[in-house]
């Protein structure tokens, strides 16, 4: 399909140029108006457990979800984990098949690397004292998706509320088990 190639090659090169020589977006390090909302979505206060025990329970949940731990610094309450998974979706494949019938090649999303950082910090009461058995836990998730042509197609933070809700449900079960020493 030489015709397709003449279109895609310059476009791909153009994207490379944009990616390689662009400048940082103006708002990249500015607190956005929705940052508070995102913080609430990604954070829970968990009572009745010390910070180290909470990190243990949280690492267990990450393992339950198939993540591998990349880094940890328990003295700062940090765990970093990632997993590589398929990014194939039925809709995209159907679209690609339709295009193939018309004689055109359309790459579809193939793999994704999902990264998570999980951070705990002790709750500080209104009197300014640290409560050793009460913690905040915030998790942030992002992913990079590559297609069948090994090009990056998505590079994004994951912000679906349901994903965070599900994580915290699993975490509260894991915390329960940790506290009960089961």
């Amino acid at each position: 399909m030489p015709r397709t190639w003449t279109v895609t090659a310059p476009v791909a090169l153009g994207m490379l140029l944009l990616g390689g020589c662009g400048t940082i977006p103006k708002d990249a390090l500015v607190l956005s108006p929705d940052s508070l909302e995102r913080r609430q979505l990604q954070t829970r206060r968990i009572d009745g457990i010390g910070e180290k025990d909470l990190l243990n329970a949280a690492a267990g949940v990450l393992q339950d979800l198939g993540f591998n731990i990349d880094e940890s610094e328990t003295k700062l309450g940090v765990i970093v984990a990632s997993k590589d998974r398929s990014a194939v979706t039925a809709t995209q494949v159907a679209g690609a098949v339709a295009m193939a019938l018309l004689g055109a090649y359309m790459p579809v999303d193939k793999t994704q690397k999902i990264r998570v950082s999980l951070v705990t910090r002790p709750f500080v009461g209104s009197d300014g004292s640290v409560r050793p058995d009460s913690q905040y836990l915030r998790i942030t998730i992002q992913r990079i998706v590559r297609n069948t042509a090994d090009q990056v197609t998505r590079i994004e933070s994951i912000e679906e509320p349901l994903i965070y809700q599900e994580f915290f449900e699993k975490l509260s079960k894991s915390v329960f088990l940790e506290v009960q020493q089961i």
């Binding site: 310059p10 140029l17 662009g22 977006p25 990249a28 390090l29 607190l31 880094e71 610094e73 942030t140």
Partner: protein, 140 residues
């Protein structure tokens, strides 16, 4: 391939090579003096609590949609990545300055370029100030 299209591809390749030439020169490359870089990449805060400062840096980075890559209390460093249609990487170091202050320094790279514009760093320190409940002092 027809010839205008081929010319276009060749032109693109030439621009790509000339514009962002890969070279070992990049290892020691910097567009500004160390003094100029430090003037906007670092601020001092009136606290002696290194751990709390590091934890606040992490919280601020999470507010800015970063995912932490590495954290080290003993070395006083945090590295994090933001993915938002682009890739932005930042390293923040926290170390004592004199006996009453902590010095916070950030350096960032956007895609494959070092961020050497003062504005994004000012934005970062504005966000950090809010979380620290302390003023970020400029240092010489």
């Amino acid at each position: 391939m027809n010839s205008p299209a081929r010319d276009f591809v060749v032109a693109c390749c030439l621009i790509a090579i000339a514009g962002c030439a890969p070279s070992t020169k990049a290892v020691m490359e910097t567009s500004q003096s160390a003094v100029a870089l430090r003037s906007f990449q670092q601020r001092a805060f009136d606290t002696t609590d290194r751990e709390k400062t590091l934890r606040t840096v992490i919280a601020t980075l999470q507010d800015l949609s970063f995912v932490v890559d590495k954290a080290d209390l003993d070395l006083g460093t945090i590295s994090a990545t933001k993915l938002s249609g682009y890739l932005l990487r930042i390293t923040v170091t926290v170390r004592p300055r004199g006996t009453t202050q902590m010095l916070v320094r950030a350096n960032a790279q956007y895609m494959d370029k070092s961020v050497e514009d003062p504005k994004p760093y000012q934005d970062f320190f504005v966000a950090l100030e809010k979380s620290m409940f302390l003023t970020a002092h400029e240092v010489d």
